[in-house]
């Protein structure tokens, strides 16, 4: 009896094991190492390209879709972001440098005559195609900034042959319009000017702003947007015919994995390197999974969270020891992104503590208690740069008029807890029994708390930041602890990214908020402040308003001033709380090499995060 029973179990277990082992004996192809003709690029966790039509709305307006996908195939009129530089590169652009005339009210763009894969020349009409669509339906393009630049300030635009002429209603700053608006234009092939297969339209050829053109463009846009809705169709003839960049898409799946081959008809200077037959972008569901893939050695270019690095960067912009688990196969790389990190102060009168935040000395005390260097050294393992102004670290002198260095503006408020506390006590605040500063000398004098602050008001404030990022938690917990030590006590909340932005904009509950990312200057690359710090600006979430600031901003957009004055005012005025900017840490397979083009090694990371595999080879 016993034996029988055991046998019965044994049979069942054997059957189960059989199912398992059946899998084992079927030969496998996974885990094979990458061949030497293929560059495998890791997409960000959960961030894969999902739109191919370059006229992109905000829902799909991402680095993964634009800088690391579309722009490999469809080159914008002006190319920004090469290895190591965020500046415009006319050499890599399908147009020559723009010519400004008529008191900076007219721009002339001369196209170089590159070719689309369809054989058509990339000419003025290709640019007008985009301009006409922009004019017809501006809100569907995410770069649109109401009242500014293209198309709202454009009086007229026309194109013939290889020359596009744009007339503005006011004079514009050449740098600003080039970096913020000409940067957004992408020439599009006539093969896209259709409303159904084989049904051509007149969006490209129509007159700018004419009602007929607008109607035609809207119909074309609707059709193309629909075609851009199926990932598996991205490699079909419609989309590949408009390719004028160095790479051509041959395969795309619904998970976001895609494969490119060199585009034989690419007319630009840096072509795909000999021996590279494929570029693959691989989707990842989580960053844990991406790190596992790195450890397995299956990708050529990936990224790594500094939290696993075992040693600090020796100096900003340099790399220390690599993550031990991948150090045998990969080199670590870093670089400064074209961005600045901040957390907006809430100036909205709807906030009960608005009077406190309105005091410049309070903002100064808060900023002086932010230990940017300490946070960079510990939380970011040295891979970070302190931020003291809206200019990105290492802003080129050519744009800003300021020294080309890690902190473009001299930091007016370095970390100093003693001084921060003194600022409060010298303005009529006194620590109460609960270790919170309370106002004991209301009034508007130089040693009083300031306008609107009442006797007995305390520095009990609230902060909200985006959940889900351990490094952000560490950063703000450090700041909260330091603020508490000078008597400013914060109650904190964390919420999902979008709730934080909604909370910031409503402006009723929190004195400081942070969605964790600050501001990236792309594809409006000019670090000017009309969006962030001007009243009514597109993303002025703290509703900051200051007449000197507004005047300085106007000088940089409509005048010809460089960014020096604006940056200095921003550093001193503290429209936002500046936060350290983490620099990216990426992993590059040791066998991967890069050509030296324009004196720049392609392995240096790209501040605009453009993926440019044409610089790479094994």
């Amino acid at each position: 009896m016993k034996i029988h029973q055991k046998m019965r179990l044994a049979v069942t277990v054997a059957a189960a094991a059989g199912v398992l082992s059946l899998g084992l004996i079927i030969p496998s192809v996974s885990g094979a190492s990458t061949p030497n003709d293929t560059i495998v690029y890791a997409e960000g966790a959960g961030a894969f390209p999902n739109y191919i039509f370059p006229y992109v709305g905000c829902a799909n307006f991402s680095v993964a879709t634009l800088s690391q996908f579309q722009e490999m195939m469809y080159r914008p009129v002006y190319w920004f972001g090469t290895p190591g530089s965020s500046a415009v590169d006319f050499n890599l652009s399908p147009a020559k440098a723009p010519v400004f005339s008529n008191g900076n009210k007219t721009i002339t763009i001369n196209m170089k005559g590159w070719k689309f894969a369809s054989g058509q020349t990339v000419n003025a009409q290709s640019v007008m195609f985009f301009l006409n669509m922009y004019k017809a339906d501006p809100t569907s393009y995410c770069g649109y900034n109401k009242g500014y630049g293209i198309p709202d300030q454009v009086a007229s635009a026309s194109g013939s042959g290889n020359t596009v002429t744009i007339n503005f209603t006011t004079s514009v700053n050449p740098g600003w319009i080039l970096y913020n608006y000409l940067s957004e234009l992408t020439p599009m092939a006539d093969s896209w000017d259709i409303t159904a297969p084989g049904k051509p339209s007149t969006c490209a050829s129509g007159a700018y702003g004419a009602a007929a053109t607008n109607a035609a463009c809207k119909a074309v846009e609707k059709y193309l947007a629909k075609q851009s809705g199926t990932l598996t169709n991205f490699s079909d003839a419609l989309w590949t015919s408009g390719t004028d960049g160095p790479w051509k898409l041959i395969k795309m799946d619904n998970l976001g994995n895609c494969t490119f081959v060199p585009n034989p008809s690419y007319s630009g200077p840096v072509k795909a390197q000999a021996g590279i037959k494929f570029v693959k972008e691989v989707a990842f569901a989580s960053s844990t999974a991406e790190q596992n893939a790195l450890r397995a050695g299956g990708i050529t270019l990936g990224y790594v969270d500094p939290v696993v690095l075992t040693s600090n960067a020796p100096s900003p912009g340099k790399v220390g020891n690599n993550w031990s688990a991948v150090a045998a196969k990969y080199n670590l790389a870093t670089g400064f992104p074209w961005a600045f990190n901040y957390a907006p102060f809430n100036f909205s009168p709807k906030d009960p503590k608005a009077a406190i935040i309105a005091q410049p000395y309070i903002r100064q005390a808060l900023q002086e208690a932010v230990d940017q260097i300490g946070i960079i050294n510990k939380v970011d393992k040295g891979y970070g740069a302190p931020i003291d102004s809206p200019l990105p670290p290492n802003t080129p002198t050519s744009i800003s008029g300021l020294p080309n260095r890690l902190e473009p503006v001299a930091n007016p408020y370095p970390f100093n807890l003693v001084h921060a506390k003194k600022l409060l006590t010298s303005h009529g605040w006194k620590m109460n029994s609960k270790k919170v500063m309370a106002c004991v000398a209301p009034g508007t004098g130089s040693s009083n708390c300031g306008k609107g602050v009442k006797m007995g008001d305390t520095l009990n404030l609230s902060i909200v930041w985006a959940s889900g990022s351990p490094s952000l938690d560490l950063t703000f917990n450090t700041e909260i602890a330091d603020w508490a030590s000078i008597g400013i006590v914060f109650k904190h909340t964390t919420a999902p990214f979008n709730s934080v932005i909604a909370d910031c904009e409503q402006g009723t509950k929190f004195e400081i908020c942070s969605w964790g990312g600050g501001w990236s200057y792309a594809p409006d690359y000019y670090p000017s402040g009309e969006t962030l710090f001007a009243p009514g600006g597109g993303f002025n979430v703290g509703t900051y308003s200051n007449s000197a600031m507004t005047a300085a901003i106007k000088e940089t957009t409509f005048g010809t001033a460089n960014l020096k004055k604006y940056a200095t005012i921003s550093a001193v005025q503290l429209p936002v709380l500046y936060q350290p900017e983490a620099t990216g840490t990426s992993e590059i397979l040791k066998t991967l090499k890069a050509i030296n083009a324009n004196g720049i090694n392609g392995l240096v990371s790209n501040p605009l995060q453009n993926f440019m595999p044409e610089y790479l080879h094994f």
């Binding site: 969270d305 075992t310 230990d371 510990k378 959940s467 700041e479 030590s485």
Partner: protein
């Protein structure tokens, strides 16, 4: 089931002399592993709530933690080393344990109380009441639990109380169904029907027959619920939805620790993993032992 058999022996000899609760205690005391589990749980609980007052470490001030070496190996100053944000690992295990145990216990209790009441009422009354209650339960059960919980967590601001309530309130549905099934079966047993026929009130029947007969299931599920709540909290920690830093719980700590396995920082994962797994094992084992103890049918024989 060791105890079940030894119990049968003891009780057959002493039946009718020793009161029921002492019999049960005897059975429990015979189970050495159960005693060890209780001892371990008591030890860990005391450690989590008392030791931090004796072995004082900074667990909340991140600014001070900046001055401590991060990911430091165990040393005289830091017996279990420091973690990936500069906190003393031993102190943090105890500190995080306070949160995990409290939350697990409270959330587990909510799920069992609500689930028992719901299941009993539904299963015993039957008929229309049962249909309505069960279809409502179906609606709740058919919404994926984890998804619903994550939706709640993303909609409302998180706090410790909120986590307890949300895990408790969304976790009782399965319990209710099991208890209801139990009540249903027991209701079918003849003696219950007999006492109803004799005119006993329905509440009386629930109290005297249904409840005691379900005791084994309720107790088992209750202990498992606590263990599940602790595990569930740890899953939330893995997804970054656990307790907010600088406060912490075991799940969040384990998640941070797993990201450092590749660097060989064993002290950030293995000591806690052992403590954590043993806690859940101990609670589950106590559940099993209690189930044996309350096994009425065994006692009655």
């Amino acid at each position: 089931m060791t105890t079940a058999e030894s119990a049968e022996l003891t009780i057959q000899t002493s039946s009718g002399v020793v009161p029921m609760w002492r019999q049960r205690l005897q059975i429990f005391m015979h189970n050495k592993l159960a005693i060890a589990s209780v001892a371990y749980l008591v030890f860990i609980t005391l450690a989590c709530f008392i030791v931090p007052h004796l072995y004082q470490t900074n667990q909340t001030n991140q600014a001070l933690a900046l001055n401590v070496p991060w990911n430091a190996a165990p040393s005289w100053h830091h017996w279990f080393g420091t973690d990936s944000s500069g906190f003393d690992e031993l102190g943090r295990i105890l500190y995080g344990g306070g949160y995990s145990l409290t939350l697990g216990l409270l959330a587990g209790l909510i799920t069992i109380i609500v689930g028992t009441i719901y299941g009993m009422v539904s299963g015993f009354f039957g008929g229309l009441v049962d249909t309505v209650m069960m279809r409502t339960l179906d609606a709740l059960l058919s919404i994926p639990y984890l998804f619903l919980l994550i939706s709640f967590i993303t909609i409302f601001a998180r706090s410790t109380t909120f986590l307890i309530i949300i895990i408790g309130v969304t976790g009782w549905w399965g319990n209710a169904r099991i208890i209801r099934g139990d009540a249903l079966l027991i209701r079918k047993l003849e003696y219950t029907q007999a006492s109803t026929a004799m005119g006993a009130s329905r509440w009386h029947v629930i109290r005297r027959h249904v409840f005691p007969n379900s005791i084994s299931n309720i107790v088992t599920i209750a202990t498992f619920s606590v263990a599940d709540a602790i595990l569930f909290l740890s899953a939330l920690g893995f997804l970054g939805l656990g307790i907010q830093a600088p406060q912490t719980d075991w799940g969040t700590m384990l998640q941070n620790g797993t990201s450092q396995i590749s660097n060989g920082y064993w002290w950030e994962i293995y000591p806690l993993a052992v403590v954590f797994v043993l806690v859940v094992v101990a609670i589950n084992y106590i559940g099993d032992a209690l189930r044996d103890v309350f096994e009425v049918r065994l006692l009655e024989r």
